[in-house]
């Protein structure tokens, strides 16, 4: 009886740590982009099996790559106040255990993706490769431009979802991917400004440290406008009603307003607000695309 309770407590604790390792919110948002990509394809062969496969394989592979990134970044995480309490740097999970978990999740996710469709599998494995090998392992400690590759990796789920539905790559899929790629700088650069000292302490080159805050804010502005335009063209190309485009326009004005305020009246608070609004903008854009196609 006591042994059973201990076992269940240990299991609960492990699951809690694993949940932290996969960054559930970020994984959830990327998963939603994949689902959006699939739904926008208006796939004629829609079955519960395919949909479950899409969700399952993307969840596993995105979670797997996140865990592998956590292992690669564990020395950086130790030096940063924001991340020092993560399961690996705090010693709650060993790097070996995380490596086993990350490998199992990644292999299972990519394999499942290839079983569903070869083109889907290619996109899923490309996302994993760009994220873990190119972004984290190779470029993150070398250049602030690594975020472009992080962005390309982030664009893969939505393109994968659409390719799974269509069986091919099309211009709308590329546009939707581009919108994620352009949104990611808004997200990551506001973050790197907020934790500027943390990143500097860890020796990670970021846009603010390489080009200054002013230029970084300009890049955020340009990428935000670009992301909004890309989603807008995507909505138009998908033939959704004007109402959805109007709503996207409203949300884009809000994003642009915050970007302009952050350029002319920069403050920690505006920066954090912009970071949150950018996430909300992308979440809303995905929901707009889903509703526009389904309703």
């Amino acid at each position: 009886m006591r042994l059973n309770r201990n076992l269940s407590e240990i299991l609960k604790e492990r699951i809690k740590f694993y949940w932290q390792l996969i960054k559930a919110l970020q994984t959830g948002l990327l998963l939603l982009t994949g689902i959006t990509g699939f739904i926008t394809s208006r796939c004629p062969v829609m079955s519960a099996g395919i949909f479950l496969g899409l969700i399952g394989s993307l969840f596993l592979s995105i979670s797997g790559s996140t865990v592998l990134n956590m292992i690669i970044d564990r020395d950086i995480d130790t030096r940063m106040g924001r991340t020092a309490n993560r399961p690996i740097p705090s010693g709650q999970i060993s790097a070996k255990e995380a490596l086993i978990l990350g490998s199992i999740l990644s292999i299972a996710g990519v394999s499942w993706a290839f079983v569903l469709s070869s083109i889907f599998g290619l996109f899923v494995s490309a996302g994993l490769f760009f994220d873990v090998v190119i972004y984290s392992l190779w470029l993150k400690r070398r250049t602030p431009w690594s975020i472009v590759w992080g962005g390309i990796a982030g664009a893969m789920p939505i393109m994968a979802g659409r390719a799974l539905g269509l069986g091919r790559v099309d211009l709308v899929g590329i546009l939707l991917g581009l919108s994620i790629l352009l949104w990611i700088p808004t997200h990551t650069l506001t973050f790197s400004m907020k934790y500027y000292e943390d990143y500097a302490r860890a020796g990670i080159p970021t846009f603010p440290s390489a080009y200054g805050f002013k230029k970084t804010r300009l890049v955020i502005a340009i990428s935000s406008i670009g992301a909004a335009i890309a989603v807008g063209i995507g909505i138009t190309a998908l033939g959704l009603s004007w109402g959805y485009l109007r709503l996207l326009g409203v949300l884009s004005v809000g994003l642009l307003g915050l970007v302009i305020i952050s350029i002319f009246y920069p403050s920690e608070r505006v920066n954090l607000g912009l970071f949150k609004y950018a996430s909300l903008f992308m979440l809303s854009s995905m929901l707009i695309l889903i509703s526009g196609v389904l309703l």
Binding site: S241, W242, G243, Y244, R246, L247, G249, V250, L251, V253, G254, G257, I261, R269, G273, K276, Y277, L280, S291
Partner: protein, 202 residues
């Protein structure tokens, strides 16, 4: 200043959803210029709701927010005027532009009393327009009773604006805590009322 509670956040989020659905599905029957005006008013409500969710009530003290919030009654009344009494559109548009200009100038460069009076006058005229128009149309038998929901919305936005203005002047009618407690309710009810009312316009 009172922090937004969980319930406040739910109410504000609901307001954002109602306003969003109005922008998506509730405006296509109007002509382009009216759609433009109503998109501005509901759009500002959406952005205001999101900013309140992200930054809390402190954002209401920001001068820029006050100027942008004036767009809600102004653009809504413009849409109503153009729909129901097109002859008055141009003079009313000129008043709206001048009013917005005056609010902006006085907000950033005049004493508080002048800026508050300017805001109250412009808001007041726009609010009365939104309140009166549906009643007049209904009284003349040109609209169904649902249109009166717009007047209800105008009444609510008037109350909300009045209470917030009194807080700003330092002579609050109700304690600040109470005002911010009822504000999300007012905003949600007002948005729902406007949405129902606009559906009644043929």
């Amino acid at each position: 200043m009172r922090k937004a509670s969980f319930l406040d956040r739910i109410l504000l989020f609901a307001m954002v959803l109602v306003a969003s659905s109005q922008v998506v599905i509730g405006l296509d029957k109007f002509r382009n210029m009216v759609v433009f005006y109503f998109t501005i008013s509901f759009g500002v409500l959406i952005i205001a709701g999101l900013l309140l969710l992200l930054f809390g009530y402190e954002i209401l003290q920001n001068s820029l927010v006050v100027v942008i919030a004036a767009l809600i009654p102004l653009s809504l009344s413009l849409g109503l005027v153009l729909t129901c009494y097109p002859k008055a559109h141009m003079p009313y548009l000129l008043f709206s532009i001048a009013g917005l200009f005056a609010i902006t100038i006085t907000r950033f460069s005049s004493p508080k009393t002048i800026s508050t009076i300017t805001l109250a006058v412009v808001h007041g005229i726009a609010g009365i327009t939104i309140f009166i128009f549906p009643i007049l149309l209904y009284a003349r038998g040109k609209a169904n009773p649902s249109l009166l929901f717009i007047s209800l919305g105008a009444f609510l936005i008037g109350i909300g604006g009045f209470l917030l203005t009194l807080i700003q002047t330092g002579k609050p009618l109700l304690p600040e805590k109470t005002v911010f407690k009822i504000l999300p309710w007012i905003l949600l009810t007002m948005t729902v009322a406007f949405s129902i009312g606009l559906r009644a316009i043929p």
